[in-house]
Symmetry: C2
Subunit: 667 residues, 2 copies
């Protein structure tokens, strides 16, 4: 970030500040004592805004306690273990093969030396499991994914899910035929086209694979066999002692990827591989010794749905881990932007680059979004944990839609933000040591695996449309979109021309207005998509109509997810008991809400939900809130409690190391 | 791209298509003979839109000739050379050090073996030079940058420019003191804070550096010396024979970067390094044997401006090369999306994923933008070449602003598009061999070097505001924004409420409407920024006011650049003589224009330039044009003439190799 030149309006001669003076200032700037003094606010903007509000003094401890909750301890344990073991830290430059080996050693270290056993928590305390995954991911995202593949059946299945899905899951061709004589299943991949690729852990380290295959049972009718649909089986792929590939199993290495090269992805083909009958994962369907099939679920479709339903944990994990990546990235970019100084008014010290409106514009709505997604994914994990305990049907449906929506929405946002953070840090963002490159490359695929984001958003919209239809047939709505039940009729009326002109700050910062705006948009989109689909289905058929409305459908899904995120954020603000922490949260919540409304202002204007004067007021307030958030940005970032040895980027060091770094790189 | 499931509206059972049948279809799909038959258009959408238009048959040869012009031959020569030398192709996995060595060998190969001498063209035929750079960049972007640093004085200076600028260029502290006794300059870096980092080619291979330093001359007054301001000097840094670092020169390696690791960036520090007087680059100021200073330019500021003005070539090169990267990326993603098939209406063959509206939405406006930026940067190169010949002052100013604007606008767009392309290709986009990872990592820094994009946009806006001010004082406007002269008053009047409601396709596709919309927005933004700056300057001072309006300023700059791009695109359509090529260009030009208007529809609605019915019509037409462009997407991409051995990504292969690949990866 620099100022501009060569213009009559901008021809000030900026005062020169010697390097030593800069370092002194930097050092004072990063001293914790200074952080709470109003003096850290830039001269320029204090002049502008001091009259409107006094700087908020945030109780950092209360805020971080409220944010991080009960799983802080285990995360600290992960951080401390890797901090104490430099030999287990991933170097900047490492070959694919070395990275795979290191990643395996990291995992062994975590389990055997640090004594952290993630597998234990997968079922009994998922929130703790995801907290470990987040912490481990901050060490090396490959390790996070490797752990997921190794320890969670969900993740392992998920690798199949993505690629099965691609080849039309219900039509997948791998078979598991029961042999009643030997009491075994025989697994077969019928041809090259049915090979499953990109299976994590398969190329080098895996001993078992969880395989989706059509269960084939012998019958006494003319066909001789019966296809019971897709089931999951545990198939050994390598010898437990020699680690040799087992007979009939063919493994190919998927090679070098854009990121996550610590994970060894491979392709598997089976040629008459025999496994014991017990290796069928029999929760939704079982085969007896004499080849009789039993299931609590009546149809192939129901069983298939239930089997796939187990995959939801992978999406919950990715959404949660993606917020973790966003926290690291935003922390590095914001800490750097607070420390880095450049130019300033004539005869005055240089200002932090975070004092530039353009830098606030890049980073402050991002910080607000990070908080928003934090609370939304914490809520998702709670619901998921509850679901794992109760198996309540409505809750299953709810978690399914919510995990699909949050996974796609959050991972897309984080992916874009990683680029924004790199750019916001200029040339230093491009030094590999400052981590944006590897974070982006590793996180990138979050948008695709466990279901492509574009596909998942369609599932969200499809679910919403189904419920909309049921509503008109007198049915009920699941919890996540129950807001539509109450409000649909209200929202579909013409907007009130009086409130459309209200532009006061109190009104714009009222959660009722914000929620109303989000839900109004979702309701309108839901109704208009439903009508368009109905119309086009007559001429184009279901497939053609859906495709004709696809962009519209995706917009609906995003709008709905944003509504859910805001509602959870507003709850989180209200539930925070410490006043200064609550005030800080309220600030970022308002910024999140108004920034989103402004980003889609065209839609609001088109239906006159917002009049021109109000649109202008929203824009102005968004810029003002970005400035307000800038003033507590340090507190907000510190509440993530990411120590220097976790963020690791030299440009974001809070100790003297930063001053040393800036001196070396020639500021 | 997949369809959706689990919804009553979407419960078709898709027909199973065996792998062999798929490959047959794929093979027929990629046969050139098929490409011009209407049958390639998907069944679904033909039904929808066949009534409105018949498929355009594009004369591909005419289109590519019009696009690529006279520098095709030398680009082919580059492509062929590297195709014939597998030993010079960059492998997927390579260490930093090996990459640096390989990159040097690639450069030697290009110059010594292929006999291509880029340096010859830097001054005498810049268009040819940039064409070579584009071609070389498609082999390995590190090579493109290495070549630029090695062969172009502009680029070499540029490395200094970026980092000097960061430390306040006019205040840079390195000195070149003239020693009249020995007839030499003595170069000194006064302290660590003045070390220049990130200099391309410095860490390993460079023999010389072009150094910016303050020229210090001895005087007879009491001060004893006189500071003549910043000048450029050629300083040898390594011995020509032994390659040892020369005495007084200290070099540090900048290490591993996010991308471009074939380029060896380093830091330089000088301790009393002596160079002959002749090593002063004396175009704008010279020193005689007896220490007398002469210059055609009267002030330090003027000379400084002229010296920096030489750097514009680097920006022209980056804008041009960035379009080259965008072409490769869009080609890979679109060819893959045409070949890859997934799902479809019941009982019908699967459709290409480019038949999905969401995929069109991702890729077709991007293809249109690629064409838009192609013509804009070709125009920039023409103007730059003219400037290098005539040194016309108005042209210099014009090229300066245009290169700053296009460099920032185009590189930001390409950076985002690389991520979109990766996502559009799903899991296969994540395989390193398919290139999105390395293209993105290499291109990323284009947004930062040669001037950070946020800074360059401010320069554009500052220049625009300066001219706006002069206009009101009776001055003239330079060529690039001469449109404002004619239209400012018209545009600032209230929009016409009648035309604001016109929604016919002929009207929306009329270049006059499109240009008017772009220019209207720019004019409004220019006036409103000027007024706001004036108002705020009174209370906040120049610096504070500029910062207070910074987002507004950046929007103005982008809007202006978009206006220029559209105007050039419209010219390019009109100048194309072959009717089918012109029709194809008109299609993408309309998509470019309307997509941009739709993206900022809030602004247009807020001032009632566009009524709600027109906004809706624009949106609808944008989707329809995306579909139309999809039907000629193959022709449009083929016109870039990027053969398989240049794109290299297996997923985009046009030969049987693709069918083999799809078979192997298990479609």
């Amino acid at each position: 970030m620099e100022s501009r030149r060569g213009n009559s309006m901008t021809e000030e001669e900026y005062s020169e500040v010697a390097a030593t003076r800069r370092i002194q200032r930097l050092t004072s700037h990063i001293s914790p004592a200074v952080a709470t003094q109003p003096a850290t606010t830039s001269v320029v903007q204090t002049e502008t805004c001091a009259a409107r509000t006094k700087k908020l003094e945030v109780n950092g401890q209360a805020l971080s306690l409220y944010m991080r909750g009960k799983h802080m301890d285990i995360q600290e344990k992960v951080y401390e273990f890797f901090n104490s073991r430099p030999d287990l830290q991933t170097p900047i430059e490492i070959s694919k093969d070395d990275h795979r080996e290191l990643c395996m050693r990291q995992l062994y270290g975590l389990v055997r030396e640090a004594g952290i056993r993630p597998f234990r928590y997968v079922a009994e305390d998922p929130a703790k499991y995801f907290a470990i995954m987040e912490a481990v991911g901050s060490v090396d995202m490959s390790l996070g994914i490797k752990m997921g593949v190794q320890y969670s059946i969900d993740m392992n299945l998920a690798d199949f899910w993505v690629y099965h899905r691609r080849s039309n899951v219900q039509g997948l061709q791998t078979t598991a035929a029961f042999d009643p004589i030997k009491d075994e299943f025989v697994i077969d991949t019928p041809h090259d086209g049915a090979i499953k690729w990109w299976i994590g852990n398969a190329a080098v380290h895996g001993k078992f694979a969880t395989v989706f295959a059509r269960l084939i049972l012998p019958t006494h009718d003319s066909k001789g066999v019966s296809d019971m649909g897709v089931h999951a089986f545990i198939v050994p792929i390598r010898d437990m002692k020699t680690h040799q590939t087992l007979p009939g199993v063919e493994i190919q290495d998927c090679g070098h990827k854009v990121g996550l090269n610590g994970v060894d992805n491979g392709a598997l083909r089976f040629r008459s591989v025999r496994i014991p009958r017990d290796n069928l994962l029999n929760r939704f369907g079982d085969v007896s010794r004499d080849g009789k099939y039993t299931s609590s679920l009546p149809t192939i479709n129901k069983r298939f749905g239930a089997t796939l339903g187990e995959l939801v944990g992978g999406r919950v994990g990715l959404a949660y881990a993606s917020v973790g990546v966003l926290k690291i990235s935003a922390t590095i970019a914001i800490r750097y932007s607070l420390l880095r100084q450049q130019f300033g008014p004539p005869k005055q010290p240089e200002v932090s680059i975070l004092d530039y409106q353009s830098q606030q514009h890049k980073l402050m709505p991002m910080l607000a979004s990070t908080y928003a997604y934090h609370f939304a994914t914490v809520y998702l994990v709670e619901k998921y944990s509850e679901m794992k305990k109760t198996h309540d049907e409505q809750l299953v449906a709810d978690v399914h839609a919510l995990s699909a929506g949050l996974k796609s929405y959050v991972t897309s946002y984080t992916a874009k933000s990683l680029s924004v953070c790199r750019e916001a840090c200029g040339g230093h963002g491009y030094a590999a040591v400052n981590r944006f490159g590897s974070l982006r490359n590793d996180h990138d695929i979050f948008q695709t695996f466990e279901g492509d984001n574009t596909v998942l958003l369609q599932q969200v919209a499809a679910d919403l449309l189904k419920q909309y239809k049921e509503k008109f047939q007198g049915g009920t709505l699941t919890v996540t979109w129950s807001y539509l039940r109450e409000s649909m009729n209200t929202y579909l009326a013409q907007p009130n021309p009086v409130t459309a002109r209200w532009e006061g700050e109190d009104h714009l910062r009222d959660p009722n207005f914000q929620l109303d705006a989000f839900r109004y948009r979702t309701s309108r989109l839901l109704q208009s998509v439903a009508l368009r689909l109905k119309k086009h289905t007559k001429t184009l058929g279901t497939f053609g109509a859906w495709n004709r409305c696809l962009n519209h459908v995706l917009t609906l899904a995003e709008s709905h997810i944003e509504s859910v995120i805001l509602a959870k954020f507003i709850d989180a603000v209200q539930n925070c008991s410490e006043p200064s922490a609550r005030a800080a949260l309220k600030l970022v919540c308002d910024l999140y809400a108004l920034d989103r409304i402004w980003k889609d202002i065209g839609t609001y204007r088109n239906v006159d939900y917002v009049a021109p004067n109000k649109a202008k007021a929203i824009h102005k307030l968004t810029e003002y809130l970005s400035f307000q958030v800038r003033n507590v940005a340090k507190d907000l970032v510190d509440a993530f409690e990411l120590p220097d040895h976790v963020t690791r980027a030299p440009i974001a060091m809070q100790s003297d190391a930063y001053a040393q770094y800036t001196q070396v790189v020639g500021f």
